[in-house]
């Protein structure tokens, strides 16, 4: 076994010359166990330079100190007002509890996402915000994240098995601590449904006939907008249709590049999708989803397939109280409505963590009910994952969301989180956007995606 400690105790410069991010290194647990033992031993500090000299090739890449230096750095994509102050409150709670300071580095969410790879390889913060699912596993398997099994040994009891699975990398180690999730569903206005006598559909045919009825009533049945940076929004409908028609497992396999996009099952998804298109709001390719949501606020549209975050567009409390959602309707009875799309956000520790002890403490705190409460007290467009969280102050939507998610048999993350992000943003999203403009091109759309797939998934 090489000398895993070498890189981490010594390099005062904060980076080592070699071993950044070599995946598949030494199993994290054993490494840590060994570390603990070694650091316990007296005189290690003196020996460190010697170790450093021969540790160049080790799989370890961080240069963290064994002792908590009192400050943890935290890279946040929460640049909006709500998450920004929610994170600030959460970190303040941590400081109060532990005495450690947290230095927050906020980068606007788009930039944060687009530059995550250069960020993690450059000078990342100790702890950073990220998303569960394939998107997390990708960076974990590239060696850019630090395993946190020790954190989970303490916080594990607070989370369900499904959440635990979401927090593990492909190597079976934990890399992620979730803070909240939010469900996707079909949002509507209760008062509008009441006034017009609409009923919440549970079956696909009812869904379509409801849309037809709305149209004949002079409403636009679906809010619709995927303009500018929002080309991810049509994926929500795609994901749900795929899970309703072909089941969760097929959907995951498709997103992971294991199933063929030219499969007749996928054709079926597009066929159903195209049945919705006569009922959607026009001008969608140039409309941001926020503007589409405004049509729902103004009751010009009847429904909107989106995540719970749509609630943030309802700035008037009365409107917000009038907002409700239902599960995406069943298409294939085999799969019913059992799958829910519930993207999960949370935290990871970077592989170049400088204050590992502090970061570990912070992660443990973030996995506690207290952290959840501090966060959700400010950002109420999400729901807690932690079973210790206080749900008594939830609004109606949040309460429903919790119930909705807990009843699901399987949870998906979202198209761009359950798959290679490059594949989704450079292949799938443009292909679907193009298809929406020309729904008769299903066959060529499928083959376009399939032929480019091999560039991203090498089996």
């Amino acid at each position: 076994m090489p000398h895993p400690i070498a890189g981490r105790n010594v390099s005062s410069s904060g980076r080592d010359g070699w071993g950044r991010a070599l995946p598949g290194g030494i199993p994290a647990l054993s490494r840590r166990t060994m570390l603990k033992g070694l650091f316990g031993a007296a005189g290690l500090a003196a020996a460190a330079p010697v170790l450093a000299a021969c540790g160049g090739g080790s799989g370890s890449s961080s240069s963290s100190s064994s002792t908590d230096t009192g400050t943890v750095t935290f890279g946040s994509n929460g640049s909006d007002v709500a998450p920004k102050s929610a994170y600030a409150a959460t970190m303040a709670a941590f400081t109060k509890q532990s005495g450690d300071k947290v230095k927050v580095n906020t980068v606007d969410h788009d930039t944060f996402q687009n530059t995550i790879s250069t960020y993690l390889q450059g000078t990342p913060d100790d702890v950073f915000t990220w998303f569960a699912g394939y998107r997390m596993q990708f960076f974990a398997s590239q060696g850019l994240a630090h395993p946190i099994d020790d954190v989970w040994a303490k916080i594990g009891a607070n989370f369900s098995d499904a959440t635990k699975a979401l927090s593990k990398g492909t190597d079976g180690h934990y890399y992620f601590v979730p803070i909240y999730n939010y469900p996707w569903g079909v949002f509507y206005r209760k008062s509008l449904f009441q006034a017009k006598g609409y009923e919440v559909p549970t079956k696909w045919d009812d869904f379509i006939s409801l849309a037809a009825k709305m149209k004949s009533d002079g409403l636009v049945p679906f809010s619709w907008g995927y303009g500018q940076g929002d080309s991810w929004t049509p994926l929500g409908t795609f994901d749900y249709l795929n899970m309703r028609i072909n089941g969760y497992q097929f959907h995951m396999d498709l997103m992971h590049g294991k199933e063929s996009w030219t499969d007749a099952k996928v054709t079926d998804v597009f066929t159903h999708y195209s049945q919705l298109l006569p009922y959607v709001q026009q001008g969608a390719a140039g409309r941001k989803w926020e503007d589409a949501a405004q049509a729902l606020v103004a009751k010009q549209t009847g429904m909107f397939t989106l995540g719970l975050f749509v609630a943030q567009q309802f700035t008037n409390p009365a409107d917000l109280a009038d907002l409700d959602f239902f599960a995406y309707p069943e298409v294939n009875p085999t799969y019913g409505q059992t799958s829910v799309e519930a993207p999960t956000d949370g935290f990871m520790v970077s592989h170049k963590v400088k204050n590992l002890a502090g970061a570990t403490k912070l992660m443990e705190f973030l996995g506690s009910g207290a952290a959840e409460d501090a966060y959700l007290a400010i950002d109420n467009a999400n729901v807690a994952i932690n079973s210790q969280a206080d749900t008594s102050k939830y609004n109606a939507l949040q309460k429903k969301s919790v119930e909705f998610i807990s009843q699901a048999k399987t949870l998906s993350q979202f198209g761009d989180r359950d798959s290679d992000p490059g594949f989704v943003s450079n292949v799938v999203e443009p292909a679907i956007a193009k298809w929406l403009g020309n729904p008769s091109s299903t066959t060529s759309t499928q083959s376009t995606i399939e032929s480019q797939k091999s560039q991203y998934f090498t089996s």
Binding site: S117, R135, F138, G227, S231, G283, A285, G286, R287, A431
Partner: protein, 319 residues
């Protein structure tokens, strides 16, 4: 000493000069100073611009996700995929050339025309100049935003004016793949015309005013004066304007990045620079593939730059 001529600056006198070997007169200290004055900027330029460019060229033959050191040599695979299996590529090339054609035909001549008019000694010229130059002062990101609130399908100025923001008659300026490139081009032209106006105005100020005067005394009308006298005498600036236009067209990025969205290509708005960015800067980058697109763009740029450089610097040799 040859007396200076008052004729058109463009008409070259054939004065050949005997190279005066001034170099020899330089002291050692002078030489050191000169070396430093030139050496430092040149070194910086080479290290930060040319070395990375060459590295990109090499990377285009590799497969690399930008993480760690797992760079694999794949030969021409990226180029093969690019040409045969990347649906956004050919549209991007097409759009870049449409962009170029439009720029050369519309805002560039218009900017030149404005400059020519503003160069006449007229009142309020500073006001006109400033008003038209304003778009040049603000960043393309802000230009993008300003046009967003004009093109917005529901609340934008255009659709509100035309009443085309109702179900059934939407004009989707930025979404319709047959329309969005043109919508963006209008916004881009707004700025580009200002840019060209300023460049050309600068050129005109340096021109001998006796020229057009002589021509108008000879009875040429404004158009003839411009085409026969002014335009040819402005050859150096014309070249610069042409090159600036070509480069701005090929490099077009910020505006579409803002107006078209920054993840993945939007149908109708595929551009080379955007595809490079999508592949190189992103969550799961494909550096080799993105670099291959960059190299294609580089080659197209060089095809444009080289004749320009040859043209511009040929004179140097004669001196």
């Amino acid at each position: 000493m040859i007396p200076t001529t008052l004729e058109a600056p463009a008409t070259r006198r054939g004065g050949k000069k005997t190279p005066s070997r001034r170099v020899r007169r330089l002291s050692r200290r002078d030489k050191l100073v000169l070396t430093l004055m030139v050496g430092i900027p040149t070194l910086a330029h080479l290290v930060f611009v040319w070395v990375p460019t060459i590295a990109s060229l090499l990377l285009s033959f590799t497969s690399w996700n930008g993480i760690g050191v797992h760079i694999k040599w794949v030969g021409l695979t990226n180029y093969r995929l690019l040409f045969s299996d990347y649906p956004a590529f050919w549209p991007a090339i097409e759009h870049n050339f449409i962009w170029l054609g439009f720029f050369l035909l519309v805002p560039t001549p218009f900017g030149m025309f404005l400059a020519y008019q503003l160069n006449k000694q007229i009142r309020f010229t500073r006001f006109y100049q400033t008003a038209i130059f304003l778009p040049m002062v603000i960043s393309l990101a802000v230009v993008g935003f300003i046009w967003e609130i004009i093109y917005n399908p529901d609340t934008g100025l255009l659709n509100s004016l035309f009443g085309t923001n109702k179900q059934g008659n939407y004009i989707d300026w930025l979404g319709d793949p047959h329309l969005n490139l043109w919508a963006v081009l209008v916004a881009a032209s707004w700025r580009h015309a200002a840019y060209i106006m300023v460049l050309y105005l600068a050129g005109l100020k340096g021109m001998d005013p006796a020229l057009p005067e002589a021509a108008s005394i000879d009875g040429a009308n404004a158009w003839q004066t411009f085409m026969r006298v002014v335009f040819p005498s402005m050859k150096p600036i014309n070249i610069i304007v042409a090159v600036v236009t070509v480069i701005e067209s090929l490099r077009a990025f910020d505006l579409v990045y803002v107006m078209g969205g920054n993840n993945g290509a939007k149908p109708g708005l595929e551009l080379m620079s955007l595809l490079i960015t999508n592949n190189i800067v992103g969550e799961a980058p494909r550096i080799g593939f993105g670099s291959a697109i960059a190299v294609v763009l580089l080659i197209i740029s060089l095809i444009v730059i080289i004749p320009y450089l040859v043209q511009t610097f040929r004179k140097e040799r004669v001196r």
